[in-house]
C-alpha cells in the first residue's frame, strides 16, 4: 500500500509551500527585532511552536481530507468542549478567561475552534445544491447554530474580537455556498441584529472605551487610544524605506505595547518602510488568492468549501489585523497569520494551511 506521504511528495504544491516559507521567514526576522525588548525566551518559544506547527502541517496534509469530512462533527464537538472547559477552568488574564495553561505555554481554545468551525461548516455546506435548497430553513438553523454557539462561548470569555472573527469567517463560507439566496439573506441579516442586541445589553467598560476612542481618537490620548496612536506613528515614521532593521525606535523604546502579538506589522512597517509593508502585503495577497485557486480546482465540494474556509480565515485575519494597526479598525486582539508571536495562533494557521495543502495535492486524484 502507498504511504499517506506518497501523495504529498508526488503532488506537492510548491508555490503554496514557498509563499508560506517566505512569510514564515520574514515573520521570524521581524520577530527577532520585535522581541529584543520583550521578556526573555519568546523568540525561542516561537521557533519551537514552528517546529510543532510544521509537523502538524505535514501530518494534516498527508491524511486524505475525506477522513476529516467524516470526523468533522467530532472535532467540532471537541473544540466546543474545550471552550466550555476554558470558561470553567481557564487561566484568567486581564479579567478574561481565554487560556489553558501548561507550564509556561498556554493554549487558546478559541483559536483551535476556527478549525473545528471550518471543518463542520464545510461538511454541512458541501451537500448537494438541490439538497441544500430543499432543506431550506432547517439548513439555516443548523449553520447558524454551528457558528453562533462557539461565537457566544468565546464572547463570554469575554473576547469580542475573536467571537466576531469566528462569525465573519463562518458567514463568508455561507455566502459562497450553494444555499438559497433567501437563506443567505436571513443569516447575513442577523449580524446587524446581533450588534444591536449587544449595544442594547451594554458593552463592558473597556469595550465601550475602545469603541469611543476608535470613533474619536482625541477623547483619550494617553489611555485607550495610546496603543492605536503609537502604532500609527510607528508605521508612518517608516516612510519610504524604513528606519532600518533593528532600528525602529517605537519598537525598541517600547512605545508599541505587546507589539510581538498584535502589532508585529507596525514593527515591520517602521523598520522596512512602505517598501517592506507592500512586499508583505503582496505575500498575503498571493497566499489568499492561491487558496482561492485551490478551492476553485478542488476535487470535490467538501474540498472546495474547506479551502474557501481557509482562505476566509487568512483574509479576515490579515485585513482586520492590518486595519487595526493602521488605525482604520478598532483595536481587537486579532493576530497576523505566521507573523504574530503565539503558539495557538501559529498552530491554528499551520493546521489550516495543512488542510489547504491537503486539498491542493488531491486535486487530480480519483
Amino acid at each position: 500500500m502507498t504511504s499517506p506521504f506518497t501523495k504529498l511528495r508526488s503532488q506537492f504544491d510548491w508555490p503554496l509551500a514557498g509563499i508560506m516559507l517566505i512569510i514564515i521567514a520574514i515573520g521570524l526576522v521581524n520577530l527577532y527585532s520585535a522581541t529584543r525588548v520583550a521578556p526573555k525566551g519568546l523568540y525561542q518559544n516561537q521557533i519551537m511552536w514552528l517546529c510543532v506547527g510544521s509537523v502538524l502541517f505535514v501530518v494534516v496534509a498527508a491524511i486524505d481530507y475525506r477522513i476529516y469530512e467524516r470526523i468533522a462533527p467530532i472535532v467540532y464537538v471537541l473544540c466546543l468542549g474545550l471552550l466550555v472547559a476554558v470558561l470553567v477552568a481557564g487561566k484568567g488574564v486581564k479579567g478574561s478567561r481565554r487560556w489553558f495553561g501548561f507550564g509556561s505555554f498556554g493554549i487558546q481554545p478559541s483559536e483551535v475552534m476556527k478549525i473545528g468551525l471550518i471543518l463542520m461548516l464545510a461538511k454541512l455546506l458541501s451537500a448537494d445544491a438541490q439538497e441544500l435548497r430543499a432543506s431550506g430553513l432547517r439548513m439555516v438553523a443548523w449553520t447558524l447554530g454551528i457558528i453562533l454557539v462557539p461565537a457566544f462561548l468565546i464572547y463570554r470569555q469575554p473576547d469580542l474580537g475573536t467571537a466576531g472573527l469566528l462569525y465573519i469567517i463562518g458567514m463568508s463560507m455561507v455566502l459562497f455556498s450553494q444555499m438559497g439566496g433567501a437563506a443567505k439573506a436571513v443569516e447575513l441579516g442577523l449580524a446587524p441584529v446581533l450588534v444591536l442586541v449587544r449595544l442594547a445589553f451594554g458593552l463592558k467598560d473597556y469595550q465601550k472605551k475602545r469603541l469611543a476612542v476608535f470613533l474619536d481618537p482625541q477623547t483619550d490620548p494617553s489611555g485607550a487610544g495610546y496603543h492605536a496612536r503609537q502604532s500609527v506613528y510607528a508605521i508612518g515614521s517608516g516612510r519610504w524605506s524604513g528606519k532600518g532593521y533593528l532600528h525602529g525606535t517605537q519598537n525598541r523604546l517600547k512605545f508599541l505595547p505587546e507589539h510581538w502579538t498584535d502589532f508585529p506589522f507596525a514593527v515591520w512597517a517602521e523598520e522596512w518602510g512602505l517598501a517592506g509593508s507592500l512586499v508583505l502585503l503582496g505575500c498575503y495577497l498571493f497566499l489568499i488568492l492561491w487558496a482561492l485557486g485551490v478551492s476553485a480546482t478542488a476535487r470535490d465540494r467538501f474540498g472546495q468549501v474547506l479551502a474557501l474556509g481557509v482562505a476566509a480565515l487568512l483574509f479576515w485575519h490579515v485585513v482586520v489585523n492590518i486595519g487595526m494597526v493602521t488605525g482604520v479598525l478598532p483595536v481587537v486582539g486579532v493576530t497576523l497569520p505566521l507573523f504574530s508571536y503565539g503558539g495557538s495562533s501559529l498552530l491554528t494557521v499551520m493546521i489550516a494551511l495543512g488542510l489547504l495543502m491537503n486539498v491542493s495535492i488531491r486535486r487530480y486524484s480519483y
Binding site: 523604546l253 512605545f255 502585503l281 493602521t326
Partner: protein
C-alpha cells in the same frame, strides 16, 4: 462516492464567482496599500517627527546669568548656588507629600498648590508624565538636612543644585539694579521663541530688566534617548544617538554678559548712608564731564533678595502698602516741584536776553504786589542783586524777574536744560516731569501773570525729577553740555573681555554765554560758602572741595495732612542741588528729602556728607592710581595742592562778601 466537481452550468457560474471574489480581495488589499501609502508617504515626515518627540528627552542646561559690576569691577549682582526640590509626579503619594509638607514647613495654601501641580503633571501625555517637576526652589540648609535624613522614605524626590540670583549688598542700589522673578504665562506666550520656558526667571526692574537680553545668555541643551517610561537609554553609542536625534546631542549653554555700571560701590554706600537720615528721599551723583551716574539712590529701598525668590503674599502686601513706598525709585520715577533749585532758569534767561544786569539791585520788602494778590518772600531782604538773591534765596527778586522774562522764555530755557522730558537714563518707568507754558494755562482755565511769578521760584505747575536736576546742574557746571545720564559703562564677556563700550552721549550743547553761566555758578557757590547763604549752615571745611549749589523748599498742599511713623507729610520737600569743586567742577549732585523740611537745613547737609565721601574717600585712591590727575583738575600738583585749589580763593564768593 462523492464525484468530481459538477460539470456544466454550475461549474461556469463557480468560475465567475471565484473571479469576482478574487477581484474583491484584490480591491481590499489595494485599500490597505493606499492606507499604508497615506501613512508612510503623505504623512510620513509628520509621524517621523512624532516618534522623535517620543524618544528625545531634552535636558535644559541653564546659562549662567551675567554679573552686574560697579565701575571698578566690584560685584553688585551675582549668582549663588541654591537647592531646589524636584518630584516625579507618578511616584507621589499622600505619605510622601505629608512628609514634604512637614520637612519644608509648607502652609496649607502652598501645600494645596503643590498637590494641584502634581495632579496637573500626571495628566500629561506619554513620557511627559514621568518628567520631574520643580516643587520648591531655594530651600534652606535646615530643610535640605531634613529631606536628606529621610531620603529612604522619599522616593521620587530629588534635591538639585541650581544657580539663584544673589544681591550680596542687599538693599544697596536696589532700584537701579532691580530684581527678578518668574515669567508669567502671558509673557511666556510672547517670548517663547526667544527661548524662555515655564518657570524661567526674568528681570523685573532696573538694570536686570533693561539689560535682560545681555545678562541672560543662551540656555544649552543635552539630548538623550528615552524609552516609553522615561528611562534614559545608556546602551547606545554616540553616533547612534546622534542619528536618532538627527543632530548634535549637546549644545553648551552660552553664559550671559556682565554689565559694568558707572556706579561706584563706595559712593553708592556713602550716598545711601547719608540719605538714610531722612524718612524718605533720593540722591544722584553724576560726573559733570560725561553724564556718568556715580551714585543713584532712593530711600527707603527694598531687598532684591526678598523679591527674587519666594516672596510671600504678606511680604508683598507690606511692601506695596508701605507709606514710604520702597518699591518706587524716587530718583527717576517720581516728579517733584523744583522750588528754588529752579531759580537758575529765570536767572539765565534774564542774563542771556539782557533783561537784567547781574549787579543791578532791586529792592525786597518782603512781598511783591500784583493787583489783587501779594506774593511773599521769606523776609524783607532789602536791596538785592542776582548774587545775593541766589545766596539768600530772595523770592521777590525772582518774582520780578519772572514777570519780566515771562512764562514761555523760562519754559524754553527749562526744556533746554532737559526738564519736561525723560533724560533717557535707561531705567523702566522714568517720569518726564512737566514744564508749563502760557498755552498750557490758557487751556486750563486761563493764564495770569501770577503763574509766571510762581514758576520763577519753582512752584506752580513745574515738576522735575531728581535725575533731571542733577543733569541740569551738571550742564550748568560744565559750560552748557547737557548729557544723557549714563548708567552702563560697558558690556563684558564672562571672561572679562570688553564686548561693547558706551561713550557719553551729549543730549544738547546749550547756547548760553559762558560768562552768564559763570555768573549763576558764582551765586550758587555763595549759597554754601557765603555766611549769608541759605545752605551755609551745611558748610563743612573738611570737605576736600568747594561745594556750590542751591537749596530748595518745595511747598506742598497743606491739605495733604497725614503722618506715618513720625513722618509729617505736611512738611515741605527739601532740595539741594549743586556741583563741586567750584573751579573745574567734577561732579553734580541732587538730593531730595521728601517732606523733609527746609532745603538748606535738611537736604544740604546730606549732600555735603555725600560729597565729603566722594572727595575725601572715594576719589583719593582713584587719584593715587592715576598720578596724572584724572583729567579733571586744571592745575597739576599734589593732593594737598588740589585741596588748596578747591578752597574758596579769589574766584567766586570772596568777590562780593
Amino acid at each position: 462516492m462523492t464525484g468530481p466537481l459538477r460539470s456544466g452550468a454550475a461549474a461556469t457560474s463557480d468560475v465567475r464567482l471565484y473571479k469576482r471574489l478574487a477581484l474583491v480581495i484584490i480591491a481590499v488589499f489595494l485599500l490597505l496599500g493606499t492606507r499604508l501609502w497615506q501613512l508612510q508617504v503623505i504623512k510620513g515626515d509628520r509621524y517621523y517627527r512624532r516618534t522623535a518627540d517620543n524618544f528625545v528627552k531634552e535636558i535644559e542646561l541653564p546659562a549662567t546669568r551675567g554679573q552686574i559690576l560697579d565701575r571698578t569691577g566690584r560685584i553688585l549682582v551675582d549668582n549663588r548656588p541654591s537647592y531646589g526640590v524636584y518630584l516625579k509626579p507618578t511616584q507621589m503619594n499622600d505619605a510622601i507629600l505629608g512628609r514634604l509638607d512637614r520637612y519644608l514647613g509648607l502652609h496649607d495654601e502652598q501645600s494645596a498648590a503643590l498637590r494641584a501641580k502634581i495632579a496637573a503633571a500626571r495628566t500629561r501625555k506619554g513620557a511627559e508624565r514621568f518628567q520631574e517637576i520643580l516643587a520648591f526652589e531655594d530651600i534652606t540648609r535646615d530643610q535640605m538636612g531634613a529631606l536628606e535624613s529621610d531620603a529612604a522614605e522619599l522616593s521620587g524626590v530629588t534635591v538639585k543644585a541650581v544657580a539663584h540670583r544673589a544681591y550680596p549688598h542687599g538693599k544697596l542700589a536696589a532700584h537701579a539694579l532691580g530684581y527678578m522673578n518668574q515669567i508669567t504665562a502671558e509673557e511666556l506666550s510672547q517670548l517663547r521663541d526667544q527661548g524662555y520656558g515655564p518657570g524661567d526667571y526674568i528681570g523685573r526692574a532696573g538694570i536686570e530688566r533693561q539689560w535682560e537680553s545681555y545678562l541672560r545668555g543662551k540656555d544649552g541643551v543635552d539630548r538623550a534617548i528615552q524609552d516609553a517610561r522615561g528611562h534614559i537609554k545608556t546602551d547606545l553609542d554616540e553616533r547612534e544617538v546622534e542619528d536618532l536625534i538627527g543632530g548634535p546631542r549637546r549644545r553648551d549653554p552660552e553664559p550671559g554678559s556682565n554689565v559694568v555700571l558707572t556706579l561706584d560701590l563706595d559712593l553708592e554706600r556713602i550716598t545711601e548712608q547719608a540719605l538714610s537720615r531722612h524718612h524718605s528721599g533720593a540722591a544722584v551723583v553724576v560726573d559733570v564731564a560725561s553724564g556718568k551716574v556715580l551714585a543713584l539712590a532712593s530711600y527707603p529701598a527694598f531687598d532684591p533678595n526678598v523679591l527674587t525668590g519666594h516672596l510671600t503674599r504678606d511680604e508683598a502686601e507690606r511692601l506695596q502698602d508701605d507709606p514710604f513706598r520702597p518699591l518706587i525709585d524716587k530718583a527717576v520715577q517720581e516728579n517733584f516741584f523744583p522750588a528754588s533749585t529752579f531759580k537758575i532758569i529765570p536767572a539765565l534767561v534774564g542774563l542771556e536776553e539782557h533783561f537784567i544786569d547781574a549787579y543791578e539791585k532791586s529792592s525786597c520788602r518782603g512781598a511783591y504786589e500784583l493787583p489783587g494778590h501779594a506774593f511773599h518772600c521769606m523776609k524783607s531782604h532789602g536791596p538785592v542783586n542776582l548774587y545775593s538773591a541766589l545766596v539768600e534765596s530772595c523770592n521777590v527778586y525772582f518774582y520780578r524777574l519772572g514777570e519780566k522774562v515771562g512764562m514761555d522764555r523760562m519754559a524754553r530755557m527749562a526744556q533746554d536744560f532737559g526738564f519736561g522730558a525723560p533724560t533717557g537714563i535707561g531705567l523702566p518707568g522714568e517720569a518726564p516731569g512737566f514744564v508749563p507754558t502760557q498755552d498750557f494755562y490758557r487751556k486750563h482755565g486761563g493764564f495770569r501773570i501770577g503763574y509766571s511769578l510762581n514758576t520763577a521760584i519753582g512752584q506752580g505747575s513745574t515738576k522735575v525729577t531728581v535725575i533731571q536736576e542733577a543733569l541740569a546742574y551738571a550742564a550748568l557746571a560744565n559750560g552748557g553740555k547737557l548729557y544723557v545720564p549714563q548708567l552702563v559703562e560697558r558690556i563684558e564677556s564672562p571672561t572679562g573681555q570688553v564686548v561693547q563700550r558706551f561713550e557719553p552721549r551729549l543730549r544738547r550743547q546749550l547756547d548760553i554765554r559762558p560768562e552768564d553761566l559763570a555768573e549763576v555758578r558764582r551765586g550758587l557757590c555763595g549759597v554754601v560758602n557765603d555766611p549769608k547763604g541759605t545752605s551755609h549752615s551745611a558748610y563743612d571745611p573738611s570737605v576736600a572741595a568747594e561745594v556750590c549749589g542751591k537749596s530748595g523748599t518745595a511747598q506742598i498742599g497743606k491739605n495733604r495732612k497725614g503722618e506715618a511713623a513720625g513722618w509729617d507729610k505736611a512738611n515741605d520737600h527739601a532740595w539741594f542741588v549743586g556741583f563741586a569743586p567750584a573751579r573745574n567742577p567734577e561732579v553734580a549732585i541732587a538730593v531730595l528729602a521728601e517732606h523733609g523740611g527746609l532745603g538748606g537745613h535738611v537736604a544740604a547737609p546730606t549732600a555735603m556728607a555725600i560729597l565729603k565721601g566722594y572727595f575725601n574717600k572715594v576719589k583719593k585712591p582713584a587719584q593715587a592710581a592715576l598720578p596724572a590727575g584724572g583729567g579733571t583738575g586744571a592745575s597739576p600738583g599734589s593732593g594737598s595742592g588740589r585741596r588748596n585749589d578747591a578752597l574758596p580763593t579769589g574766584s567766586t564768593s570772596s568777590m562780593i562778601p
